[in-house]
Each structure stands twice: as structure tokens, then as C-alpha cells.
């Protein structure tokens, strides 16, 4: 990549986000605009996958809400992703945890890793 293009991409780099890995449970504050008003909504769930690099990096989160699985994809550098906090470190032996979609109950959770 051209050096000057790289410089432009560095402008949007996230410095506030903590290190988080696949299998971790994280909480994301999402900025939502509805009806001209802005508010922040938290979304907490397991990180199933991270893909892309640089400005194009996104991550997939999954949570089971009222018995229904909800997945959301966020661009890591989107300004709508206001804050990321790691609530639980999870152990993952895969790079993509899509198998969790078929699981329910205890087996749908990742094992804890280290101290959270």
C-alpha cells in the first residue's frame, strides 16, 4: 500500500479499544440515531470472529436474547462503536466460532481464560 494512503488510514485507527480475542465476551456501546435523536445502546455478547485488517477490520458478536440468537457485525473503526469493554476472557481453539450457533445452554459458552 502506498505510504500516503496508509497515513490516511492511520487517522481512523482505534487507540481506545482494548485487546480482545475470539471467544471473549465483550460489551460494546453503540451509538444509535433514531428520529433525529442520538443515544447509546450497549450490546454484550461473544466474539465469534474478527476479519479484515486495518480500516476494513470487522468483528462478529453473538448473544442469545430472550431465547433468540442475535448476531451483529461491527466495523472496528466505526465511530458508532463508541466503547469496547472486555467482560470475560474466553478460550477458543478455533479462529471462527460459528459452531456456537448450533449449541444451546452450557455448551454454547466459551470456557473462561485467565482472570476477567
Amino acid at each position: 500500500m502506498n505510504e500516503k494512503v496508509r497515513e490516511i488510514e492511520l487517522l481512523s485507527e482505534r487507540t481506545d479499544a482494548p485487546e480482545f480475542a475470539i471467544g471473549d465476551t465483550i460489551r460494546v456501546d453503540v451509538r444509535i440515531r433514531e428520529g433525529g435523536k442520538e443515544r447509546t445502546q450497549a450490546f454484550e455478547g461473544t466474539v465469534l470472529a474478527r476479519r479484515g485488517s486495518g480500516v476494513n477490520e470487522t468483528f462478529i458478536m453473538r448473544r442469545v436474547s430472550q431465547g433468540i440468537g442475535v448476531e451483529r457485525i461491527f466495523p472496528l473503526r466505526s465511530p458508532n462503536v463508541q466503547k469496547i469493554r472486555v467482560t470475560r476472557r474466553g478460550k477458543a481453539r478455533r479462529a471462527k466460532l460459528f459452531y456456537l450457533r448450533k449449541r444451546t445452554g452450557k455448551s454454547a459458552k466459551t470456557k473462561a481464560r485467565g482472570i476477567s
Binding site: 500516503k4 490516511i8 487517522l11 481512523s12
Partner: protein, 209 residues
């Protein structure tokens, strides 16, 4: 000035404040230098010739060197004329920077498209392909190219296979996302013709049309 010469550096994306991602092409636009001023009296029409990107004097041939030496300028790799109404406002040696554009402007970008080589009718003209199976033997052929005894020839302009790309292409009405005068950078929304490091012309849209 209504245009500038630049170089395509590549594409990336930037985020708006509301979180929408904007695909942008980064152009190194200028600094250009006025290399010649053409007036009705001297040349029969009015234009300003700009030069972009310095080159080693040795790599320029003698007549090319002379064109610049006349005004004690270093040779530039790319020369382009821009039609202006008041060429006498410009002086040879004057610098033209990206500050002729500002955020929110609409521009036209002209460049040579990437050469695709000899291509068939499907890729080159968007013909539909035939069925791959069920005994079909017409997969990517052009089909009929005309009638019979009348006209007994193929009409001019018939779309057939041939060389594709490497032609001058203009993409019109692109939004200017960012102008960085210090770094001579211009961010334009969307894709522009040609490959990375290719020369491009960025112009204000022609309002006469």
C-alpha cells in the same frame, strides 16, 4: 484554475461522523507548474499548460528539455493543457495547488483506463452468455452479426471481440471528500479510471454543457 494533474495513489475508506463508511480514492494532486500560456494571438485559442511531477533532466530528450529551459524550469513528466477564459492571469512558473478545490466540490476525473487486452464480447460489451449444459454449444459467442443478401456486409460499429481498456475515460461528478493542501492530497468519493500510480486529470465540471 479549473483543473489539476495528479497521480492515483489507491483506494481506502473513511468514516463519516455519523458512522457511514465512504469509499475514497486518494489522489496526489499537484503541485503543478504553469509551463506555457496560450492566447488567441499566439496560438489561436486560450489555454494554460500545466506540468506535473519532476523528472531527471537527463531522461528528457533535448526538445523536451528546451521547452522547460526557455523559462528556466525543471522538466516535468506530464504536461496537460487546460482551457481557461483568461490565460493572461497566469504566469509561466506559477504554482497550482490542490487548494483550487474544497471539500464538498464536485469534480470530473479523467484518466487512461487499465488495459484488458483482447477480450471477447461477453466481457467487452456485456453480452449474455449461453447455457453451459443441455447440449448447448454456444457459450460465449457473439451470435449473429447481421442479415443476409441485404446488406451483404457487416454494419459499421458492430460490437465484436477486440482490444478492451487503455482508453481515455472520464468519471463525472465525484464528490470531493477531503483536500489536504499541505500534503497535496485529494480524496474523492468512489473509484476512478486507471491503475495505481497512473496520471489523472481532476477538473471542475464543464458548466457550459
Amino acid at each position: 484554475m479549473n483543473g489539476i494533474i495528479g497521480k492515483k495513489l489507491g483506494m481506502t475508506r473513511v468514516f463519516n461522523e455519523d458512522g457511514t463508511a465512504v469509499p475514497v480514492t486518494v489522489i496526489e494532486a499537484g503541485p503543478c507548474v504553469v509551463t506555457q500560456v496560450k492566447t488567441v494571438e499566439s496560438d489561436g485559442y486560450e489555454a494554460v499548460q500545466l506540468g506535473f511531477e519532476r523528472m531527471r533532466r537527463k531522461t528528457a530528450n533535448k526538445p523536451y528539455q528546451g521547452h522547460f529551459a526557455k523559462h528556466k524550469l525543471a522538466p516535468r513528466r506530464k504536461l496537460t493543457e487546460f482551457r481557461v477564459e483568461n490565460p493572461t492571469d497566469y504566469k509561466v512558473g506559477q504554482e497550482i495547488l490542490v487548494d483550487i478545490f474544497e471539500e464538498g466540490d464536485v469534480v470530473d476525473v479523467t484518466a487512461n483506463s487499465k488495459g484488458r487486452g483482447f477480450q471477447g464480447v461477453v466481457k467487452r460489451h456485456g453480452f449474455s452468455v449461453g447455457r453451459k449444459t443441455h447440449g448447448n454449444r454456444n457459450h460465449r459467442r457473439p451470435g449473429s452479426i447481421g442479415q443476409s443478401a441485404t446488406p451483404a456486409r457487416v454494419w459499421k460499429g458492430r460490437k465484436l471481440p477486440g482490444r478492451m481498456g487503455n482508453s481515455r475515460v472520464t468519471v463525472r461528478h465525484l464528490d470531493v471528500v477531503t483536500v489536504d493542501v499541505e500534503k497535496n492530497l485529494l480524496l474523492v468519493r468512489g473509484a476512478i479510471p486507471g491503475g495505481t500510480n497512473g496520471f489523472v486529470l481532476v477538473r471542475k465540471p464543464d458548466v457550459r454543457k
